[in-house]
């Protein structure tokens, strides 16, 4: 029992500090995920308020808004060990002036990671368990008030080829055949990301925003989605295919 009191004092004096700079090797580090939004397989320049021509449908498309949930991020080590981020919910918002979105991931155990897994959307439990916080706050505007659930993806804009000159895709749905939650794993193609607690490695991901109109879907087929259902599922399937690994900066 004699060791208990000194132990207590050590805990007390160290636990309220902000960081654990006790001189030893760092046990945790950070990385960032850089989402680089491009247009089509060639990854042509993409930005809001710019008219683009769809490489497959040839439709003219101008985005005015693109926001989506990136959630439940996981990193996998070479030995298969998986680290899961707690409370892992973010909204990626393409800005008016830049098409890149950077997401900081903190307190990752140090190590070499070879793959990242993430979900576009919000898992079913967070759609059904009442008022949430952070990126899941209803005030973030990615939430239906009349039929409870998160709007996983908001893609809006204009097109002379859409029936009313506009498109508005609000994609969500978490139940049964309406489930529009999609998860992807991107392997880093042999170039592991090194989380060492000192560097600030980057995982670069390409996002092909032309993917909404994949598989023969045109703006003429679907130009408005305002609730869960078959069209939302089509768009969720298409958009998850938009994400591909681009590179690592250690």
């Amino acid at each position: 029992m004699a060791f208990i009191l000194p132990l207590t004092l050590i805990f007390l004096t160290s636990a309220c500090k902000d960081d654990d700079d006790n001189g030893s090797q760092p046990t945790h580090g950070d990385l960032s995920i850089e989402l680089d939004h491009g247009w089509g397989p060639s990854h042509a320049a993409f930005s809001l308020n710019q008219e683009l021509t769809h490489p497959a449908t040839q439709e003219k498309i101008t985005f005015t808004k693109l926001r989506y949930y990136v959630s439940n991020i996981e990193l996998t080590k070479a030995d298969g060990e998986v680290w899961k981020e707690e409370e892992s919910y973010r909204i990626a918002t393409v800005g008016q002036s830049t098409s890149g979105v950077s997401m900081e991931i903190k307190d990752i155990p140090v190590g070499e990671y070879e793959a990242i897994t993430f979900t576009i959307g919000v898992d079913a439990p967070r759609n059904t368990s009442g008022a949430q916080t952070g990126a899941l706050s209803p005030s973030e505007g990615m939430f239906w008030s009349w039929t409870t659930g998160y709007i996983f993806i908001m893609a809006e804009g204009m097109s002379p080829d859409a029936p009313n000159g506009q498109f508005m895709y609000h994609v969500g749905g978490f139940e049964g055949s309406e489930n529009a939650i999609r998860t992807t794993t991107l392997n880093f193609a042999g170039t592991n990301v090194n989380v060492n607690g000192t560097g600030k490695p980057k995982v670069k991901v390409k996002v092909n925003t032309a993917r909404f109109w994949h598989g023969g879907i045109s703006l003429n087929d679907i130009n408005a989605i305002h609730m869960p259902g078959a069209n939302a599922v089509v768009m969720a399937d298409n958009f998850i295919g938009a994400f591909s690994f681009d590179g690592i900066e250690n």
């Binding site: 008022a131 005030s139 009349w146 039929t147």
Partner: protein, 344 residues
Amino acid sequence: MWKPFTRTLFWSLGIFLVINCNRDDDANSEDLNPAVNPTIPSHFPSPVYGFENNPLTKKGIALGKKLFYDPILSADGTVSCHSCHDQAFAFADRGVAFSTGINGKKGNRNTPGLANLIWYPAFNWDGGINHIEIQPVAPLTDSNEMGHNLKSLLKTLQNHPEYPGLFKAAFGSDSIYDQKLLFALTQFMATMVSHQSLYDRYLRGESSFTDKQLRGKNLFDNHCATCHSGVLQTDFSYRQNGLRANSEDLGRMTITNVFSDKGKFRVPSLRNVEKTAPYMHDGEIAQLTDVIEAYSTGIQAVFNLDPALPSGGFRFSATEKEDLLEFLRALTDTNFLENEAFQP
């Protein structure tokens, strides 16, 4: 690898440390903000709402009540929850079919009463809302109701002379964000338990029914309780009752997009039904006697008419209608309608 005792000690210390580090943030401690036990009547089932994340407290309930009566929640500061949910009418609106929101705009469904909400698995006539904490988002933001933007509302509350202090007293922090706003409103709504009608006292063996009320109860049990089942008089299902067959409102189909759900609405609880006129999702049936008459002779043969209902109607006799009315009046809970705890 640790011995169990050491491990326990470690965790005890951990808990101690958490408390220690947050010493100056203890506005939520029991002395300053006592916990309140939810009212769960002995003859009710277990509530759906769990309270784990949002335990009732004296100051949380008081804050929820202040918000409920405060028109600051609407975009132009003119409409409060109470504007359409009046205690004297069992927290339904005051005898109107459609309630009036900001800028004189009207909704398109009848305002339901508020009682026993912690037993509800879903909200609104179409069941589109799946959680009591989330329900207020709809009236707060609907342009026909309070028409507010949540971010602006939170900013207004944050800059208010009183609310930051009240949120700190209730939840331990003066930072106002939507979860805390919704938690506070939920706490007040959770206290709205109607459980002291004559019918409740009859069920608990504390009072007896008159012969008329007993005959009414038997009629109700045989004809109405298939849907209006249990102590809350609803099985929370969505059904087409054939009374408003020409209504253009898609009802449950709005949510499910399934054609067979067209015109189906949630079976409402009948607690305090005498006080919640007019009736049905569109408030088109004015009086309770009219409702009984409609079920007696006005059930139309819609394609998805509920199988529990006879096309045409139940063909009640004049005496049966009177008996049913007597039973329905026994569901009125005067204590609930007059309880000062719900008043501003």
